[in-house]
Amino acid sequence: MKRRFNYTGRNKLTMDKIKISLNDSDKGKKSINAKIDLSDSKYPEDARVFLDAYHKTERKRFDFGTVSEIKVPYDLTIDELAFTDNLMFRIVIVDESSKNGLIVAHADRIRTDDNLDKKPILPVSFENLNYQAWKIEFKGDSNGPILCINNQIPNIEYIVKNDPMFFIYIFHTVVKEIFLHMIFVDVVEDLEDPSTDWHADWIDFAKKLLPNEALPKSLNHHDENEFDKETVLNWIDKIIEEFCNSKLNEWQEFKSKLENK
């Protein structure tokens, strides 16, 4: 698992100063719009500001001038990148007064505004699983979860998308398994700023499901002082309960399908 430490005193930029959106309507050319506001920052005025767009093996850097004089580059196209659907961004402020550019502040794993809500947190893959209908594999980005479904089941892609029975029977178990793995197999060191992308995504998912519920004090099972197994398990149960509550339509369809049999 990738972990991040900060021994170097780099500052973390606050996200309210950064707005990035994707623009793919310009005659097929994909580009980004980006606004970076550092007007009341404490960084050296002549420090350089860069925006890196990246996903998988693709990466492109945009030069936004300096802290005191942000200049939006003329060319903000991302056409040459092979994967732009789940593009992420990193902003680095670099002090170039020394021999090698020192990072004085950064913000990473930024998503475009239009990707914030629609980003899928559970990729699905259809594979030959022999006699197993489905399984969760933790082999996605940063060892994130992938729902693997047996492609030997006839018409399975349609069933997964449209059949409420499939949804009702498996999805709450899937969600539970992911949270159990994240907390009890992986390590969530920092609840407020998880170092692993998919941990952050699933904690956000939980927060959205339980907006009025306080998070457990710690999700780090190595933290003997703050981690409380029972509290965490109860929290996961509440997530599952609320997840099922949020799927009322699927439940109704599921019931009526059984009643009509």
């Binding site: 021994y7 890196d52 040459e80 092979a82 670099v94 550019g101 990072i103 082999k139």
Partner: protein, 237 residues
């Protein structure tokens, strides 16, 4: 010469099943997936050589790169086309999985079936060869592509598996400067030996530390090399 094709799901599944069976029965004949129910033509139409013998992964990647470039096809238009890469594996299967003493040895399936998951994509013999070549440019690929087209070496496993490293050609150039021997056109001995000082795994760890402090992206390879601790000095010669 044959027209370039892309497996459809039926073709991909049939090939996948064949590979599973071949693992159990290594003397099985290659499945015939030439019927049009298994594939669609690549558009625009391109022709490739069935009997072309590739001396290395470099040779293979260069061949494909030329074919796509000559047709005006950009890297980003094909790199994510997983079933294209899987079809090419089937097409050149006798080189990818040669018959030795009447049997074929099937390795990890991800080396033949190109998946969507980038944690295994880099293991695909053909997709990763082309990806590395087209991403880094001809001169930065030696460590990865110097061997036969069915050899997956430790440089690919350690460097190409890390997207934050393989996507930065200056890091790869630094690694190549350390570990590649131009005179013999091979990596320096013991570069991937865990017990050797300044080995590849140590370099990866140091890269991770440097990037916390320095803006690696804008650094030249020689500037990165200058930041390395003494244990790497022996490799700089």
């Amino acid at each position: 010469m044959e027209q370039l094709k892309i497996f459809n799901q039926v073709g991909e599944t049939a090939f996948h099943n064949f590979l599973n069976e071949l693992k159990i029965n290594p003397s099985l004949d290659l499945i015939d997936l030439n019927d049009s129910q298994y594939w669609v033509d690549f558009k625009p139409a391109l022709v490739i050589e069935k009997n072309k013998i590739f001396s290395s992964r470099f040779d293979l990647a260069e061949y494909l790169d030329n074919i796509f470039k000559n047709a005006g096809i950009k890297r980003n238009e094909v790199i994510g086309n997983n079933r294209l890469w899987t079809w090419l594996t089937y097409f050149w299967f006798d080189q990818i999985c040669p018959i030795v003493n009447g049997e074929r040895k099937v390795l990890q399936i991800a080396k033949y079936i190109c998946g969507q998951d980038f944690r295994t994509y880099y293991r695909h013999f053909i997709a990763s060869s082309y990806n590395i070549y087209s991403l880094l440019g001809k001169s930065n690929t030696f460590l990865f592509l110097y061997q036969s087209i069915n050899v997956h070496n430790d440089f690919i496993e350690q460097l190409a598996s890390r997207q934050e490293i393989i996507s930065q050609s200056n890091l790869i150039q630094a690694a190549q400067t350390l570990y590649w021997n131009d005179l013999i056109n091979k990596p320096k001995p013991a570069a991937t030996d865990r017990k050797k000082q300044g080995n590849l795994r140590r370099l990866i760890r140091i890269f991770g530390q440097i990037e916390l402090t320095y803006d690696i992206f804008s650094m030249k390879p020689e500037e990165i090399l200058n930041l390395l601790p003494k244990e790497f000095n022996g490799w700089k010669d």
